[in-house]
Symmetry: C2
Subunit: 116 residues, 2 copies
């Protein structure tokens, strides 16, 4: 279930700081590291490092324009990532509900025995 490639996606998105950066990119299109740094409680260098990680995970791409570098979200890859997240969530839900039903039927059975 937890493959290595998916782990890269998870740890990219799992980090709170990177999630903030990603969220800013999703909502603002194509922007620079400095612009992002102005909207986030840590330095430009930290933003830049996170962008490297996100780029290695394929979640963002860069484009140099003059003296600045613009970053944007790779929609397809992010879609794949959110799908994986939703899948795991659904899988856990499924298991937990199965266990819950087991517990309820066990309770009903014991109740029946007590009543006998």
């Amino acid at each position: 279930m937890t493959t290595e490639a998916e782990d890269e996606l998870w740890s990219a998105i799992g980090d709170p700081s990177r999630r903030r950066v990603l969220d800013l990119l999703v909502n603002n299109g194509e922007v620079s590291a400095s612009w992002l740094a102005g909207r986030v409680p840590f330095s430009r260098q930290a933003v830049s490092k996170h962008l490297v990680v996100l780029e290695e995970a394929g979640l963002v791409s860069r484009r140099k324009q003059g003296r600045e570098v613009l970053y944007k979200v790779e929609a397809g890859r992010l879609d794949q990532a959110t799908r994986a997240m939703a899948d795991l969530a659904a899988e856990w839900d499924r298991r937990l509900n199965a266990i819950k039903r087991l517990a309820e039927s066990a309770y009903a059975e014991s109740k029946e025995k007590r009543g006998r």
Copy 2:
């Protein structure tokens, strides 16, 4: 959007090792740290530390029985966590699709102009 309490959930689930531990707990009910350590590529102490984090995030609870300590998933809290994950994924999807539609209509417009 990204509150502090939710960040605790995310970084709890975002870590690959913790996700493996959680997955084992979801699939096996109530088990001990040593049992978990036997099914995971790191030591019992590492498992134990992860369980502390998961417990502080409210995702698991502990129960002492004789000389061993049994852990189990707190279904309600995990449900809340997976819901938050799905919500963020949906939100990103929504934004990306909106942007995609914008781009397509802009393309159609430029095409129309070129054809004129």
